[in-house]
């Protein structure tokens, strides 16, 4: 990795081990004295929070799997048994269910942080793309996990989402139907479907963990970005990761845990849907099916488009387009703080995503359809029009000469320059 470790083994055993498998050296170099920009704000603490979220989901998920039965006849009852009979089952399941929502809160903040501060720009394109890949894996995993409860919302979410692929029938007749029956393992969503969703739901978090390691690796090659969007240049521009950022990340994690615990202990079902406490019934679609809150903006985009195939393409395109962001944005300036025009479009985009989220939860009729269409148009225009065009014509503000100057002012920066 880019940064050379200054690790000194403190014992003979340590030195012996260091020559054979230098893991402590790697940890020391990457997580103890790793040089980190001194101006990181609290928006930069969500990376650590996300690692914590993944760990919570994996640990609670493994113990829940010890009690869960993946069969249409028993799945719903086994979840209820976890809630009522299994020791601490209510706590484990609520932590896992709320944990999924907290994971998405954190990942969306993390992604918007990246968009605002231009974290996707050179030399961090691969880092960004790995992040989008993690988001995609998270969406898939969360969807599969939600289906396992086998309540009404679970069942109909699986039906609707797997049927997205049947839209391929409009391209090649029969292709979509064949694909959907292959996914189902039958002619409708049923036992074989539930079993494979469970198998994959268990697998994917470990795939995510692997991509997270690549994401951190790709981060540690150029090092962290920062709110000023300029590179580390002076010695006084950076601080060792420990103790400065272990403490800062730790504090942010504690605050995040307050919110997490608040939901788990006081409002565990607030983010869920009551219909999922009704066992799955293949003959009765609930009057109003909605996905979990974290999918609502994408759901609104799907429903905004009256053509089935194009609607599905837009749904997948809304995520796929993120892969191309490093090349869509033509501005050389990373941080939106120094971009007076782009700033407005950015906050409009945030508002647009929130509006789409609200619209996704409403019935697809009247004014909601019109607003969803406008929202969907701006969603794509932000990436395809605003990013390339604003980048070309905008006159950015003067960037600070160094990170030290951004934090301590010109005088201190001049001293640091002199001593460098």
């Amino acid at each position: 990795m880019a940064h050379q470790s200054t690790y000194q083994p403190s014992s003979k055993l340590g030195a012996w081990f260091d020559e054979r498998l230098p893991i402590p050296r790697m940890v020391h170099g990457q997580f103890i004295d790793f040089p980190t920009p001194r101006n990181l704000n609290y928006w930069w603490t969500f990376g650590g929070i996300l690692v914590f979220c993944l760990a919570v989901q994996i640990v609670t998920g493994i113990v829940l799997a010890m009690h869960y039965v993946a069969s249409p006849d028993h799945a719903f009852n086994s979840v209820e048994a976890i809630m009522r009979d299994v020791n601490w089952g209510w706590f484990l399941r609520y932590t896992h269910a709320v944990g999924a929502s907290m994971f998405f809160i954190a990942v969306y903040i993390h992604a918007f942080r990246g968009l605002y501060y231009g974290s996707y720009k050179a030399p961090r394109e691969v880092l960004w793309m790995l992040g989008v890949l993690i988001l995609l894996l998270m969406i898939t995993t969360a969807f599969m996990g939600y289906s396992l409860v086998w309540g009404q919302m679970s069942f109909w979410a699986v039906t609707v989402i797997t049927n997205l692929f049947s839209s391929l029938d409009m391209l090649v007749p029969g292709l979509g139907t064949t694909l959907v029956q292959w996914i189902w393992g039958g002619y409708a969503v049923g036992g074989p479907t539930l079993n494979r969703l469970f198998a994959l739901h268990y697998l994917l978090p470990f795939v995510i963990a692997g991509v997270v390691l690549l994401h951190i690796w790709a981060l540690h090659i150029p090092g962290n970005g920062n709110p000023a969007g300029i590179d580390v240049r002076l010695k006084s521009d950076s601080l060792p990761f420990h103790p400065y950022y272990t403490i800062k990340d730790g504090f942010a994690l504690v605050v995040f845990l307050l919110l997490f615990a608040g939901f788990v202990f006081y409002a565990p079902n607030y983010l869920g849907h009551p219909d999922n406490y009704v066992p799955a019934n293949p003959l009765q679609t609930p009057p109003h099916i909605v996905p979990e809150w974290y999918f609502l903006p994408f759901y609104a985009i799907l429903r905004a488009i009256p053509n089935k195939l194009i609607g599905v393409a837009a749904l997948f395109g809304a995520i796929a387009i993120l892969f191309f962001v490093p090349w869509l944005d033509r501005s050389k300036v990373r941080s939106t703080t120094y971009r007076p025009v782009f700033k407005w479009f950015f906050w409009l985009f945030v508002a647009d995503c929130l509006m789409l989220g609200y619209l996704g939860s409403q019935m697809p009729e009247g004014i909601y359809v019109l607003l969803s269409r406008l929202g969907a148009i701006y969603y794509f225009a932000f990436f395809l029009v605003v990013m390339p065009v604003v980048g070309m014509f905008e006159k950015p503000k003067q960037l600070p000469g160094s990170i030290t100057e951004a934090v301590l002012g010109k005088e201190a920066a001049a001293k640091a320059e002199a001593s460098a």
């Binding site: 039906t159 997205l164 029956q181 039958g186 429903r303």
Partner: protein
Amino acid sequence: MSTSITEDDEDVSRRDVILITAGGFAGVLGVASIWPLLDQMNPDSSAQALATTEVDLSHMERGQAITVMWRGKPIFIRYRTDDEVAAGKDVPLSELPDKVARNANLPDDAPATDENRAAEGKEPWLVMIGICTHLGCIPDGQAPGSNKGEFGGWFCPCHGSQYDTAGRIRKGPAPENMAIPPYAFTGDTKIKIG
């Protein structure tokens, strides 16, 4: 090795044959072994075996609708009133978003007339797979008093697709008429689906 091989001793063409053959077989077998991994997910014989269902319709009255299961899917059976049949017949083909009958008992290109949607020679009977062709929800309209939509047929609560009294899509995001399964009357009031 005890004896060294010089350039002259090497039978280059024989080596190529061995390399290409071995590599070729390994490649073909490697690719072929992917098929069981993929095909295991397809509906197996036991799922395919549940393919026929017999239904007795003798208890049904005009205007009544029932739902039965076939291959894990709901089948809507509606014994339509004369008004409902007339409403289905009155629609010119040009007004339909999907102009094909989608009837497994007729040729693929049969037009979506009311006659082609209904049971052969028994136009009041409509038998179809009760699944919205948009994203697979079960439309409302079977039970008395449930929402039948603007066209008196079925209304899908998920994304607002509306079907007429012949189960044809009239409005909303669904691309196709609801499908008619393969079925036949085996007696005056008995049908076999599948």
